[in-house]
Amino acid sequence: MNERSEPGPAGRLVIEALDRHEKALVLYTTQILGDLERARDVVQDAFLKLCTQDAPPEALREWLFTVCRNRAFDVLRKEKRMAFGAENEPAIRQIDGAAGPAELADRRDRLSDVLAEVSRLPERDQEILRLKFQQGLSYREIGKVTGLSISHVGVILHDALGSLRRRLDGNQMARPRLGGES
């Protein structure tokens, strides 16, 4: 057939999704991987995968987040495996370097108190907080992306907010009476 420089409807769908979600996905994936370039690879992969779907995913954003998340964790697993398998010094450093204690502390200084506190939460809680407050996903969507049940997502968010509140209590946010949380 003749050359097609213009995308068709499905192609437009891809490009539109790219316009709309690219940055959010890169941000989200970077936070998992701790590395912009690898995050970009993952996001690119996700969009290329979208191009090979049989039909447009019904919940495109959710789909994209899920694919990015899965790929990102694949990348982490693979690196860990390679690091163990080959006892490859640089690989280990690379992982550590992704979120080394020194770098983390340094990074934290540059962030607001809130973000600093967020970054002290368990990684899973951080991720879910980000999906909620950074990406604006609903409980249901978060559940779909992370594979957790909706109620579990609810509990995690609740607990994360609770501990954030307690910690921020001593900081700049003088909150009245916050005790009694489980």
Partner: protein, 944 residues
Amino acid sequence: MTQPDHDVLLTSYALDEFQGEDLARIERLLAEDPAARQRVAELRALAALLSDELGAQAAPGLDASRRAEIERAAVAPRGRLLRLDARPWAVAAAILIALGGVIGFGLGGRPRDEAGRKVADLDPADRRDEGFRARRIVDDARSESGSEVRRDQDLLATVDRHAGEAPVPVDHTMRAPAAEHERLLAEDPSASAAQGGTKIGIVTTPAVQTEAPNKVLAVAGKAKGQVVPGAEPMDARAKNDLIGLGGGASGAFGGMDRERSKTAGPGSTRPPARPGSPTPPASPGGFAPTGSGSPGPGPAGGGYVGPQPKPSGAPTQVGGEVANSARSAEVGLDPALGNSEEGLRRRSVDLSRQLEDLKVDAAKLPEANRRRYLKSIDDLATQHNQELAGRVEALDALREANAAKEELLEAQADPLAEELAEVTQRYEELLSNGSREVEKNDRKYRILRRLVEDELRRVAGESYSSVDEQPFKPALAEPLSTIGLDVDTASYANVRRFLSGGQWPPRDAVRVDEMVNYFRYADAAPEAGENLAIHAEVAACPWNLNNRLLRVAFKAKEIDRNARGATSLVFLVDVSGSMRSNDKLPLLKEGLKALTRQLGEDDAVAIVTYASGVRVALEPTFGNEQARILGVLDSLEAGGSTNGAGGIQLAYETARKAFVDGGTNRVILCTDGDFNVGVSDTEELSRMLEHEAKSGIFLSVLGFGTGNLQDGRMQSLANRGNGHYAYIDSRREAEKVLVEELVGTLMTVAKDAKLQIEFNPFEVASWRLLGYSARILEAQDFNDDKKDAGEIGAGHSVVALYEIVTRRAGDDLTPKVDPLAFQRQPELTNLGKPGEIAKVKLRYKLPDAEKSRLRSLDVIDDGRHYGSASVDFKLSASVALFGQLLFRSPHVAQASLEAAEELAMESFVPEKDPRGLRPELVELIKKAIAIRDGRPQKEGPVER
């Protein structure tokens, strides 16, 4: 305070997760709880803070090159999603767009098809699905049937919603000529038909460009067909329909091109309107009514109805397209599956072969270690084959289901496509499971391989018994052949089992001496005062007529069953789980019952069993208590693991308790070979067996079942215990061994029987012994009464065969080396009579004697032809030839199985063969011929 789960709900509420009734309910609760309201406010403040802070974080997004690659992919026809642009999905989209609305396929789109969602993420999701879905959409759009109604309504709702919500901006620059056009239409109906035709042409342009949307053409063409011929009386609605179809589509294209980023739905493949393109006139016709959302005969409704009327061309084509896409998918899919499945099978076969090789290697290990490895190899092979067989079976079944469904799919229904996708997926899963299994077993194989190789290296240098054939030996340098005489017969039954199962017996399973001794011969019984008679016969060797064949036979005296002394038998029965199969414990029980019925009043029987534990199942019991013995036999059940070590001690202890002075005392080990004795225990066991044999308790070993791995081990055990080893593979064999022969073996008439033959080098150039490789003794052992040898029971025959190369006239017997400097060579003098080729010497002890007696026989070759040899000679010769052919001995390279069959036929003498063993021999040879020629085998044991 509120409960924890209540708190969680509160958080959810604060984060706006609740809707509808739930929301109302929680708000009612909150109204009564100021503390909770306070908390919600705090949570919302925190949430807002987090949204602000986290939301302020930003990533740079993709870099230009990565983005460019995605954009390339988005227009490349390789991506499946993008292929849709040129395929039915896009067609459906185009149709729906044409129907007057922009359908939100993508962002925020509603679920259209559960099945579609399910398979959307699956990588191998086959291409069929796309055709299938496309067809469903098309069908949805026109279906009136009940099951499709809901879907229709959903679709309609979608169409309506999007039609209402997403008005596509209409270009005003295009509206002006459109208005002009409308005016023209109103003036001239026939012009509208002409315009319609033109417009349809426009719609088809992208269709042609993108190859697949033939259906757009078809649908449009249909409309055209309706309209054009009857152009004159065309009513307004028809006009609108027509315009709606084409105009909607073009309008949508136009709108998309301008407002790409804002358009919710996909556009079409059509490039932006080119200058000079006759698009504009059609546009407004489609959009004015749609935009206004007007009901009734407007394009939204009318357009929807458009494709509905029993369209003759379009649906056929759509159906054809689906069928085609299914067919092409099938073509694309099946070879791939076939290949990987084939690969799976091939790898499995490879692995099995490797395991066989490994087994061969492991067989070279010393006995104690060999057992362990062979067992693991066997286990692995069994496990592997079972797993594979199961998977391959499932694969076959699934493939059939797949094929059947595919056929049906071509013929008809959609639901089948869904099922087909599932079946295909299951098939692929199974396939990959199978591969994983093979890989897993592959790993196990490699580990085993390494272990065996290590073990082989470790024991390199240690000698292990070889079952190889004896070579020709020069009679001058090695005139003596010395062997222990024994009447083991297990090999024949074993060979029979293999051949009956359509399998060529493994080399190690074939022992010529045991095969020859399986048969009953008519050799004369010894004279009074002797327990063994010696017979010798020489005739032409049937597989090499230049050579001679010497048959030496020893016949033990018959003892009337009723005249024999009292007997004490201890059966040591393996009742481990592996004995459960019908050819093992049940067969043994049958045989033992038959034996029990033969017991006299003075005969005692005891039963010791071993499995996980060892126990005396039946204390020594006299033969008059038949019912009790039979009852215990009946109660024997197989189960548990194998722990043979303790069993044999207990059996001997029991035998000592019931020892009959001057009678026959025997332990009979019945097992399928799982006889666990540790490495260090083996020597101890051997010493014990020898010790017990001296004190008068002998050991017989009866092998059962198909695991012949321990064949050699059982044979050596039996030999240590002055015993007899037999393999039992059928009920008749059980009776033969347990009732007829055990009685013989039970009543040993000669122990430590040894044969020594001295060949006359003036008559014999060289000689070779057939079989008996495991029983060869040193020449000096012959006269050593302390050297253990074979036992011969009442009525048994033992036959030894030698192939002889005769001395030819003119053979130079003088040494080929210089005369020795320091010793004088003895003069070579022929002390034999003419034709005297050998002297046969026999030593044996009477059962209760410590000193052996020596008997001898001179063998004179009378130049007999094979034809004039005795029937017994011919039978022995044919069995020996058969055995040698089975392990492909180079010595019988010139002979064939057919020759062996012919020879065996000559030994048919019904009156000398009451049990019909000889016809069975012929049958077995025929089976071997069939296997050799690759002819299919009838399963099942040989009828005897």
